[in-house]
């Protein structure tokens, strides 16, 4: 076979847990990237050793997707995200070239320490519906089939899966550094599925058509040779399961979800102004399960993205999330029993459609004409809001398009990996800094209090929900 010369080799490199060891590995292999180090603010980087070698720094779960679609020739990410992709898409054009000689943690199946589910045998004997919360919904589905669970439901979450058991999930499929880590979060590991090692992956087409040998040779010194023995759950010496008692939390009537991340600080300020005291929420460390000063208020701290579905399921009566995430949920589930009670005013963002400043298009209509005349076929749209993006495209009569899910820093995907970005922005500066321009504001969003419609109709809850809503409304600037 005749290979094409490596005019341009594109590599996807990981953020987060594997950034440090991957940076060190690349440096020692002689393919170092100057700006690839912890704390970097760059997305696009070039190798100082090989002119043809460029890289982009992405979330690990994006790496497996974008290498398989051919946006990148090679990538490095955790084996967990490779398996998550392949569990759902076994024919994906993603080749596991070799595991690398560094690893971090493992993927566990765990239950609440307070649960009756203490073993896999107990799980198999369970006749009721088993609820599994996970950032790995595809792996969770496969595991449920392998365990022959008769009735199960998978709750995909953006993060904080450890917060869900036992009230909102029976099990979590979760990454953790070790068993001790899990136990400190009140979880009992039932099964250690696999250790998470870094893996070099490649696009099938790139490997068959491009000469990548120079890069592969450099990195090959760090290929892990030989198999890894699967390990069972190890009980750590001195490891203690968090003894936090559940009963006070579970006995409370009203369950409120509060946000972690960027929305936490303004949410803390709003709660203070409203006189709603939730001890522990304002602290620097994230406590997932909290008790409000009111004797009837139980609080959990989870991701805003996950709140609408959790409220719809009835796992929470109330939640403080963003209107953008509420709309995203309602696009997917139009009859969802989630309703907005109060516009809380903070966290104002615009959800916009943006594209490269080089494209001669200034509006959605012009973009549609541009696509109709032969530009962008098919139109590739990157978004964290896949349902909102789909609705925007349908409503504007785009015929042929692909929506690619992303998990943060979506602007990095334009314009190499996607043509249009649908993302939130506060000022628009980040978009401009990345050479993008806004062509339409799809939605103006701020934080809001949402409620489950059934809870609102429940006489034992209605008064208290209205009380909280009134307090928060009174505190809005």
């Amino acid at each position: 076979m005749e290979f094409t010369s490596p005019v341009d080799v594109r590599v996807a490199l990981p953020k987060g847990r594997f950034l440090g060891p991957t940076s060190a590995m690349l440096q020692s292999s002689g393919v170092s990237f100057d700006d690839y180090s912890p704390g970097t603010r760059h997305y696009r980087i070039r190798s100082s050793a090989y002119e043809y070698l460029s890289a982009k720094i992405l979330q690990e779960r994006d790496i497996s997707i974008h290498v398989s679609t051919g946006n990148y020739d090679l990538g490095i990410c955790g084996i967990d995200w490779v398996r998550e992709l392949k569990a759902r898409y076994p024919t994906a054009a993603l080749v596991e070239i070799s595991p690398l000689d560094y690893r971090e943690g493992a993927v566990f199946l765990a239950a609440s320490a307070h649960s009756n589910l203490r073993s896999l045998d107990a799980l198999a004997a369970s006749s009721g519906t088993v609820r599994i919360a996970s950032e790995y919904p595809n792996l969770a589905t496969r595991l449920a089939a392998e365990l022959r669970l008769r009735r199960f439901r998978i709750y995909p979450v953006w993060g904080a899966a450890e917060a869900y058991p036992p009230e909102s999930a029976d099990l979590v499929l979760i990454w953790a550094r070790n068993e001790r880590d899990l136990m400190s979060q009140g979880l009992m590991p039932l099964k250690r599925l696999f250790d998470v090692e870094a893996v070099l992956v490649g696009n099938r087409e790139s490997l068959s058509q491009k000469d990548l040998s120079e890069v592969l040779l450099c990195v090959s010194g760090h290929f892990r040779l030989g198999g890894v023995q699967p390990r069972g759950v190890r009980s750590p010496e001195g490891g203690q399961i968090s003894a936090e008692p559940l009963t006070p939390w579970q006995s409370r009537d009203i369950r409120l979800a509060l946000p972690d991340g960027h929305q936490k600080t303004p949410a803390v300020e709003l709660l203070e102004r409203a006189g709603l005291h939730v001890p522990g929420y304002a602290g620097r460390t994230v406590e997932r399960r909290l008790l409000g000063d009111q004797k009837w208020l139980a609080v959990k701290v989870i991701r805003p993205q996950d709140m609408p579905m959790q409220v719809a399921c009835g796992h929470f009566d109330l939640a403080v999330t963003g209107q953008d995430w509420l709309m995203e949920h309602q696009c997917c589930f139009p009859a969802s029993p989630v309703t907005e009670l109060v516009d809380l005013g903070f966290g104002k963002v615009r959800v916009v459609a943006a594209l490269s400043q080089k494209v001669p298009v200034t509006s959605t209509g012009e973009l549609r004409d541009y696509v109709a005349r032969g530009g962008f076929r098919p139109l590739r749209v990157a978004s964290e809001y896949t349902n909102l993006a789909d609705k925007y495209l349908r409503d504007n009569h785009f015929v042929c398009y692909k929506v690619m899910p992303t998990w943060g820093a979506s602007e990095a995907f334009l314009s190499d990996d996607a043509d249009v970005l649908i993302d939130n922005t506060q000022t628009g500066k980040t978009l401009v800094d990345n050479g993008l321009k806004i062509i339409e504001v799809i939605l103006r969003s701020s934080a809001c209090l949402i409620a489950n419609a059934d809870s609102l109709n429940d006489p034992s809850k209605k008064g208290r929900i209205e009380e909280i809503a009134a307090q928060l409304k009174g505190a809005v600037h």
Binding site: R131, A144, A145, L149, R150, R151, R153, I154
Partner: protein, 427 residues
């Protein structure tokens, strides 16, 4: 895609609308074959007293997982998704199989009516990563719920044979086996729970090498197992031979063998030809007794079925035994000969498009339809009808009542009135 001046660079032609991978369009010739199979199946089922049902395309995922009847790899190939009101996480599926939905339909809408004989023509959806099989599959299926075990097993075989005879297929082979006997055979291996489950899963996924290897390892000790896998019997006598060798076998093995012998003996007496092949069990592990599959002369599996006594009670229905079978329409369609003339249709054509000629052509077609024949009109496109329709009525003049009648089979042509032409095609 674009250059610095903003003009769009052209790319290669892009076909926007294609069918999904693994899906198939049924074109007119396909549909002629499809309807032939469907008609033969309907008439066969009606002759045996079966009633038609149609379960919905979408069912809850837990209908299939709750029974514990699917292997993990089967669950992994189901098309499942969250419905528009799926915020609770309850997944729905495009049905991967029709027997389980029909059993659900029976429990929900008909139980405890017995006996109940049902048939259906449905599609099912199973992901196939090899690209060698369709992901949407059509089948004609029949279920006999609440029948007497051995008699209803044999009825399934007779009904299948009746339908195959109606379709005119020669040389189809019936391979029969017994799911209870296969399960008992695996029990005889004395494996641990995990190893046994793993072996059952590989067998159900169609890989028999693990079982063959396991049997060969203990063949000295249990010499009655190997012949079951190695030999193909043609009568109840073969099973009786195994029975004679298996005096040390467990009770479950011997009981299953006895049931199998009973069915085989009845088939022998009815002069039904079959092959005993213990590997002739397909995919689903809900079968409990006799299983059979139908194999074409080219070796293709074109149908199969079996007894599933536990399915209805496992769904919360009464403790009622049942059995059923399905014919795989996609495979059968490939085996049918060329499509005949299009639906006995008469072509009514004209060579020019003036209003008066068109009017006469449409009137002639109406006259054909009035006597109960189908008529397809061709305005200035008559040539496209040649070879496809036996009878062609050609309208040549707006003024005269005369038309030309062409018999494509004999190439006879005659000029006659519309009334005469209609009489001729009607006869």
């Amino acid at each position: 895609m674009y250059n610095t001046t903003g003009s769009i660079m052209t790319t290669e032609p892009f076909l926007i609308h294609q069918k999904c991978r693994g899906m198939r369009d049924l074109l007119p010739d396909d549909m002629v074959r499809f309807r032939r199979i469907e008609d033969a199946f309907r008439h066969g089922c009606a002759a045996f007293g079966y009633e038609e049902v149609k379960p919905p395309t979408i069912e809850y995922l837990q209908l299939f997982t709750a029974l514990g009847t699917l292997t993990p790899s089967m669950v992994g190939r189901i098309y499942s998704f969250l419905d528009w009101d799926g915020w609770t996480g309850e997944r729905v599926v495009l049905r991967p199989d029709s027997t389980i939905p029909v059993a659900r339909l029976y429990v929900e809408g008909l139980a405890p009516r017995v006996p109940t004989r049902l048939f259906y023509v449905t599609n099912s959806f199973v992901f196939d990563e090899t690209g060698s099989r369709q992901r949407e599959r059509w089948q004609c299926g029949a279920e006999f719920i609440g029948g007497t075990p051995v008699a209803s097993d044999v009825e399934m075989v007779l009904l299948t044979q009746d339908i195959i005879a109606r379709l005119g297929f020669d040389g189809m082979r019936f391979q029969i086996c017994h799911a209870g006997l296969l399960k008992a055979l695996i029990d005889e291996l004395g494996l641990g729970a995990d190893a046994k489950q793993s072996l059952v899963d590989t067998v159900l996924d169609g890989n028999w090498s693990g079982l063959t290897d396991a049997v060969s390892r203990i063949s000295d000790e249990k010499h009655y197992l190997a012949p079951l896998l190695d030999l193909k019997g043609g009568s109840a006598g073969f099973l009786s031979n195994i029975r004679a060798l298996s005096s040390s076998a467990g009770e479950a093995f011997r009981n299953a063998l006895d049931q199998f012998i009973e069915v085989a003996t009845l088939l022998d007496e009815l002069e039904c030809r079959y092959e005993i092949d213990i590997t002739a069990v397909r995919s689903f592990e809900y079968y409990t007794g006799l299983c059979f599959q139908l194999v074409s002369v080219t070796g293709e599996k074109v149908g199969g079925g079996g007894r599933y006594d536990d399915l209805v009670p496992m769904m919360g229905g009464p403790d009622i035994a049942a059995c059923g079978f399905a014919l795989y329409m996609d495979q059968l369609m490939r085996l049918l000969s060329e499509a005949p003339y299009t639906a006995d249709c008469v072509a009514v054509v004209c060579e020019e498009g003036s209003p008066s000629i068109v009017c006469r052509t449409l009137s002639a077609a109406k006259a054909v339809r009035a006597v109960g024949r189908n008529a397809a009109v061709g305005i200035r496109r008559g040539v496209e009808f040649s070879g496809k329709y036996r009878w062609i009525i050609r309208v040549t003049s707006a003024e005269q009542d005369m038309v030309e009648l062409i018999d494509s089979e004999t190439n006879d042509r005659m000029v006659c009135s519309v009334v005469e032409a209609v009489d001729r095609v009607q006869s």
